[in-house]
């Protein structure tokens, strides 16, 4: 084993200098609320390499997103889950709203947390399964991002068809009982493993300080207790024959452009080269080896909880 992770961040060169015309990438963003900072997949859009289908169940918010007419993006007003009618607990901080009820006994232990989880109203919503969304059936999914306050597992369990073609999943995972009975890491790890995904990176985590203490550094710093994390999974990359060459190219583009995961990008290009007789991997390795301006510090765009409540 080599050692602690290197810092993540985008690489200093565009992968299109190596792979001039990569296949277009379809991004599915579940939990697409716009709260200011750019979405994690924005670099792919900015480079003209991807289109986005996002899900935002709050009708007014969804309409606002579509009205902005951002190139390459469309938003659908569906709440994703297990296909049943569920109860949406609308919280004071709307982005903490969830199909799971907040757990005040736990949340109230922490500094700067409880007010965000105050439930203002609980309303019935009809959820839809990702596998049942016609728009996704038509477009497919290469990169799936999930950030829905505990409902990630419900969504993934009913996304077997979508996950068959998906190459990368980034999901926020609740690591502590912020919501009653909400699934946690074990459930998400299990469903992704069952669908052929393997762990790639622990992208970042968020937490809060237990009262009455207060971290003098201020948010998003916290003294010790991690409460959520953003985890990155990718399709098993050991066997070159597991994917067609175009999928390996897509994986390389996503890994390089969003995550600066040059090792994964390089391996994916090796697989593409093996199958298609191309020479991308050697050029990529040479580009990585060139002395270059260090990548600008690019904080990985955190998940929704992190963006709202702070993360480190």
């Amino acid at each position: 084993m080599t050692g602690p992770p290197h810092g993540s961040g985008r690489s200093p060169f565009a992968i299109t200098t190596i792979v001039p015309q990569p296949p277009p990438i379809t991004i599915i963003d579940v939990g697409a609320m716009d709260i200011g900072p750019p979405a994690i997949w924005q670099p792919l859009l900015d480079a003209g390499l991807a289109t986005v289908i996002g899900f935002e169940p709050v009708a007014a918010e969804c309409a606002r997103l579509n009205a902005a007419q951002r190139a390459g993006q469309r938003y659908l007003p569906y709440a994703l889950g297990d296909g049943r009618q569920r109860t949406l607990h609308v919280t004071r901080f709307s982005a903490c709203s969830s199909l799971y009820e907040p757990n005040p006994a736990f949340v109230e232990l922490f500094d700067d947390l409880a007010p965000a989880f105050d439930v203002l109203e609980s309303v019935p919503v009809q959820t839809r399964r990702l596998d049942d969304i016609e728009e996704i059936a038509a477009s497919g999914c290469d990169y799936l991002k999930l950030d829905i306050q505990g409902a990630e597992f419900d969504t993934l369990r009913h996304a077997t068809r979508v996950l068959t073609g998906t190459l990368v999943v980034e999901s926020e995972v609740l690591l502590a009982p912020l919501y009653r009975d909400a699934p946690g890491f074990a459930e998400i790890d299990g469903v992704l493993a069952a669908n052929g995904f393997v762990f790639h990176q622990w992208r970042g985590s968020g937490g809060r300080t237990l009262k009455p203490m207060h971290d003098p550094r201020g948010l998003p710093a916290f003294l010790s207790q991690t409460l959520w994390a953003d985890l990155l999974y990718v399709k098993n990359f050991c066997d070159p024959d597991a994917q067609p060459p175009e999928n390996w190219l897509k994986l390389a583009v996503i890994a390089h452009t969003i995550y600066g995961a040059a090792d994964l990008a390089h391996l994916a290009l090796c697989h593409a080269d093996t199958l298609a007789g191309t020479w991308f991997a050697a050029d990529y390795r040479d580009a990585c080896a060139e002395p270059a301006v260090p990548p600008a510090p690019q904080p990985s765009t955190p998940g929704l909880l992190s963006r709202l409540l702070g993360r480190r």
Partner: protein, 283 residues
């Protein structure tokens, strides 16, 4: 604040640390200061007799070294690897090591022999009161070990476990399984002290490495309700949170819960000491 700061403030019951998979350590244990100060006893379990012997004769040796392989109680195959610390009850997965070529030499199996594993709950060498900190680094056998440690888990207040994040070892339990077992026993994820990456693909390797293959994770007894532990175990909880992880807010929480048992003022004294060292109180 020093690791033994709680012991300077008030009486702390003696701590017991159980480390399963203790051999091949390349750095001092995080509990070394507590053991050196006489505040904790340290029991180590190690399957490889040579590693166990080294442990027993080291300058900072455990109080007891038990020569045993931890598992589900069945007879298993111990794979002795070129890098001894990576020896495992699980066969290294060749499909994965064709990808992790730089790590592959360390996992080359030099010998295989049968070992009778023992379940953690079956160790009569472990005190009846169990342990306070359970530390596991069993090269893929962590989920198996925890699945047969209900008695220990009912007594432990903190569990730290090192797990592979990829299926590098055939049939090894996953971190997801470890998470499920610990949550079922009333533990909550606390923090992730460390993680390790390894190089994908062919050498020489010049591209930056992001692929994580192993991580260390800490779980603590659910601290949302006082009745989850008794007074002394909340105090031990606090002592370990403070000394091993610098989790001062968690330590304070443990002391506050202990104080509810006897109307003590440990939490207040700890907070004052922390403030004096550098902290502040929320308004």
């Amino acid at each position: 604040m020093t690791p033994s700061a709680l012991h300077d403030l008030f009486e702390v019951p003696p701590l017991t640390i159980l480390e399963a998979g203790a051999g091949g350590r390349e750095a001092p244990t995080p509990w070394a200061p507590l053991v050196a100060a006489g505040h904790a006893s340290w029991i180590a379990i190690e399957a490889r007799s040579t590693e166990g012997a080294s442990l027993a004769t080291a300058a900072a040796a455990p109080d007891r070294v038990i020569d045993a392989a931890v598992g589900d109680g069945s007879t298993r195959t111990l794979h002795t690897t070129r890098r001894p610390a990576f020896s495992t009850l699980h066969e290294p997965n060749p499909a994965w090591f064709r990808t992790f070529r730089q790590a592959a030499p360390d996992f080359e199996v030099l010998d295989r022999h049968a070992v009778r594993t023992r379940r953690l709950d079956d160790f009569e060498e472990i005190p009846a009161a169990g342990c306070d900190l359970l530390y596991l680094d069993l090269m893929g056998a962590e989920a198996d070990a925890l699945a047969h440690a209900s008695r220990l888990l009912s007594r432990a207040v903190i569990v730290q476990v090192g797990v592979f994040l990829l299926p590098l070892l055939s049939g090894a339990g996953t971190f997801g399984q470890v998470d499920r077992i610990l949550r079922d026993h009333g533990f909550v994820f606390h923090t992730r002290p460390s993680g390790y990456v390894s190089a994908l693909g062919p050498a020489p390797y010049v591209v930056p490495i992001q692929q994580e293959i192993w991580g260390d994770f800490v779980y603590v007894k659910d601290f949302s309700r006082a009745e989850h532990l008794d007074r002394d175990r909340w105090i031990r909880f606090a002592a370990l949170a403070h000394a091993l992880y610098g989790s001062h807010d968690l330590a304070h929480r443990g002391l506050a819960l202990a104080d509810t048992c006897d109307r003590g003022d440990r939490a207040q004294r700890y907070l004052a000491a922390w403030q004096a060292s550098r902290g502040t109180i929320a308004p």
